[in-house]
Amino acid sequence: MNTSMKRRVFLKRSLSASTLGVAVGAGLLSPQAILAAWNEASFQAKSEKDAIASAMGDASTTASEDITIKAPDIAENGAVVPVAVKASIADVTSIAMLVEKNGTPMSAIFNLPKGTMADVSTRLKMGKTGDVIAVVKAGGKLYSARKSVKVTIGGCGG
């Protein structure tokens, strides 16, 4: 590919990226419509606090007993730890799962449209014994809960 062809491809790519930016700014594209949006800042944050702030807009959460975290007390294989989070709070719009002792704690963010229940489940990697944290955004407010999971064999393939 000669230089001028490369330049055209580069310009074409950057133009389409900026068109997207303009469309978002003009309110033509809602954030939920941009399917490829990925919260880099949150997933790369090294502290729990920064990870939550980047994902939810604020770092401070209120501990809530209306959030249940179902995870094993002892995980025999840290590479595959089943974690289920359920919240009996009204108007939940998102649920984040963090693993306290992982180098980058943010593990998964679930954005829930109206009609989807606050009941999500997946499997996470845990490097060592520590808390699994659930942060729930409901009605614009942040709630959280933690559960300690003992990890006998670390899950990061070290």
Partner: protein, 104 residues
């Protein structure tokens, strides 16, 4: 026909439960290849979208710390037998896949 996603969707008492299993290495980028000594590059699903009859019911963002061959389960109100549930994912390397299943 996509084969990297297995979907089971069941409607009961006005709630549909969806369970999906995806085939993906979910490499964190922190592992070393024991043979070559080189770091295995990060390769993981970043976005998962689920739709019910074309309407979005879940948008998930994942990091490398979701387990290999990721499992996902969620529930939404409504859904009837025969309705379509579609699950699609995109990863950090531009890979993607999508599959649909009918609610039972």
């Amino acid at each position: 026909m996509a084969t990297s996603i297995k979907i089971r969707a069941k409607a009961k008492d006005g709630v549909t439960t969806v369970k999906a299993l995806m085939t993906h290495p979910m490499e964190t980028g922190l592992r070393k290849d024991k043979k070559t000594g080189n770091m295995i590059p990060a390769h993981f699903i970043q976005n998962v979208t689920a739709k019910h009859n074309g309407k979005e019911v879940l948008m998930a963002e994942w990091g490398g710390s979701v387990s290999k061959n990721p499992y996902l389960s969620f529930k939404f109100e409504g859904g009837a037998k025969g309705d379509e549930v579609e699950i699609s994912w995109t990863d950090n390397k531009g890979g993607s896949d999508s599959d649909t299943a009918q609610i039972k």
